[in-house]
Amino acid sequence: MKLSHIDKLESESIHIIREVASEFVNPVMLYSIGKDSSVMLHLAQKAFYPSKIPFKLMHIDTTWKFKEMINFRDDIARNYNLDLLVHINQEGVRNNINPISSGSKIHTDVMKTQSLIQALDKYKFDAAFGGARRDEEKSRAKERIFSFRDKKHRWDPKNQKPELWNLFNTKIDQGESVRVFPLSNWTEIDIWQYIYQENIPLVPLYFAKIRPIIRRNDMMIMVDDDRLKIKENEKIEQKKVRFRTLGCYPLTAAVESDASTVEEIIIELLESKYSERQGRLIDNDQIGSMEKKKQEGYF
């Protein structure tokens, strides 16, 4: 029997997840509700089958996620009997930090990066799984699978520990931690193929449907609730759209699409000329912006 490319990726990821469960005292899986997180969760369930996943999941809630994402998250947690923590940066909420008037940079920093750091400190996690892939973005391409973070959760890209074979250095001091990326070697198309083959449930936002949108800064933004104030020159249109990545709704651009099944999405993807992160407003702030955010402690 020959293992296919996907079979190899699947086993590699399971190996990584088991290694963390063996070597760390208090790991957590960062669950973002998106497709990559869904695949990661699915792999974690396989890694420990027939037992329950031996660690908690955590969602960093910015309070600006799409409503459908939150519903989906709670359904999954209930249906799969998961230990799910939800953390919100309450200080950010009190200071009314939001993606619209505070701007994407401050909102992301306070409600995602700072919030994540708060939660990691609060629960004293020594390892945190993330669903990032190396093909997503150039600075991710250089990150280790086991990526060291100092006591202040910072990443030092120029001083990464060499990572050879599948031998992972899991030794850290008190207060330090690692971020672990079991999906490092998966590409976007691999993820979709796996979702199809394994029939992994996804947030419906990935599939095309008539949704209310406005056009702002050349992007289509979905009107998910009344916190998005419609300007005078804007009008709500009903468009058949879907999302290639999911985040805070005012920062996540929809794409026009007819793809309403996984098969149709894969076909659309093969014909696409644009990368998935293109729909993310926060990546394009400045050259090297992801690298800067990651050094500060971003996912």
């Binding site: 293992l3 296919s4 027939p50 093909d135 250089k142 060499p162 050879l164 090297g288």
Partner: protein, 624 residues
Amino acid sequence: MDIETFFQNQNNKKQLKILTCGSVDDGKSTLIGRLLFDSKNIYSDQLSQTKIESEKYGTQGKQIDLALLIDGLQAEREQGITIDVAYRYFETEKCKFIIADTPGHEEYTRNMVTGASNSDVGIILVDATKGILDQTKRHTFILSLLGIENIIVAVNKMDLINYDEKKFKDIISSFKNFGREFNFNLQKFIPISALVGDNVFQKNTNISWYNGKSLIDELEEISLNNSFEEEIFSLPVQFVNRLSSDFRGYSGTITSGKIKVNDEVHVFSSKEKIKIIKILTPKGESDFAVKGQAVTLTLDKEVDISRGDLLCSVKNHNYFLSDQFASHIIWMNKEQMIPERNYIFKFINFQTIGKITDLVHKININSFEKIASKFLNLNEIGYTKVALNKNTIFNPYKNNKKLGSFVIIDQFNNQTVGAGVIEHELRRASNISWHQMSINKNLRSSINGQKPCVLWFTGLSGSGKSTIANIIEQKLHKLGKHTYLLDGDNVRHGLNKDLGFTDVDRVENIRRISEVSKLMVDAGLITIVSFISPFKSERKMARELVESDEFIEIYVDTPIEECEKRDPKGLYKKARSGKLKNFTGIDSNYEIPSSPEIILETNIISAEELADEVILYLKQYNKI
């Protein structure tokens, strides 16, 4: 397109992990950019981003600089060099590729080794205008050391030498000349131009004299039957799954061979035979599983198996249970590798303390000469003997890459400082057995009404170690206790007179003293050791040789200014004037103990009173 056909094609594609290596400016990043670009694996927003960056940092005038697609980290984009390993993904009709892009500079050899450790094929880039360089030889050597069987030598920048056939052939023959001693399974030579795309994807008429395939065609045809790897079942136990009370399974990734339900296998450590009842693969319960799959097995009986153990087929195999082996090691840290120092050795499913007992030779990786040396510096490769502090299961790297490889971790700063491949076992350990003596430590020491221990004094030269140690020994003698004082200076006149003051010799100095004090503790003595002993790791080594309550570390804390003022032997003066090299506190480091049992501050309290403090400690802990 029909989606099922698409998936079928995807599943038939083979996965190929390739490594590009070559000297600085040979065009590695450009080649990878070209592979992504020509295979249409670049999205147009990424391309337009690269266009913006090309205008800012590009080296190709108005043309788009494909290397910028690849050089991920900002510092690299600005300096125009690759400083780390980057992984890239692209696919063709037949193949899914994962490329490790590694730097060419000699100071980044460790990154190249990292990339090579996970690759199936090595592409060695040679700049046609420069020919074979030292780096070419170094990279070829590393590929061979790490067991890469397939290499492609891509002679790049053919456009700059007007596609000159003779020059290409000269490069081939000089490569073959030095490459003779390496045993690659497949070795191909292709003339290319990554910048214009000649012979990367498309064959080019500019090089009509070349009859071979393009680079991508050659890669797609490589078959990955690792000819040397054995096919006997082995599974290192990674995780014991008994998270629910009614289930007990053993999880891990199969590193060689295959397994079926009802097969009989060995638990390697206990040699017990067990039968496989269930195999849980990622695809669900199955009758069998193969190499590369992450599985969970259930067995016919309850046996004692934990992480670190190995399940393997009952048939003959090459596994060894031993605590010593010979290996090639690549050193990856600025702090040099010192023989006899304790490090953590991490293998596929366990880690243990161990040390490199001998550096047999190091290798000049540009000329392949073997050179005698006492230590390894950053990026150097050596042939070594390794001793671990417990018996472990291993297999030579050439039989099984997963079981024959390890990384070395510093105990104190947690850095990955080295990596190694196991060549063969050393049987020495199993031939020496311990003689069981009928009179033991407890019987010896009970005659004197004492418990043996080591009082280990550490501190700068002139801090007062020997003075206090001396008073303590006198006091203990008066109390009728049996003692022995090992003093740094005195021992250097006898047992250690062959050692100097380099870091390597200091480590050996302390190692011998540690072993001597262990013998003295065994003889039932209160052993007083007074040595500068500047390094944490050697003090830790000394501590670990005896029982945990037998080692009392005493840090004599005197500020260096005070030591220098006292200067009883005039050594600080000599060191300051440069007549004495490697003097602790001046041009050699002293690592302050982080949790000694006792701290003595000599500039506040007299030596007599400090000695009493230590005596009191010994009484409190029932040593006397």
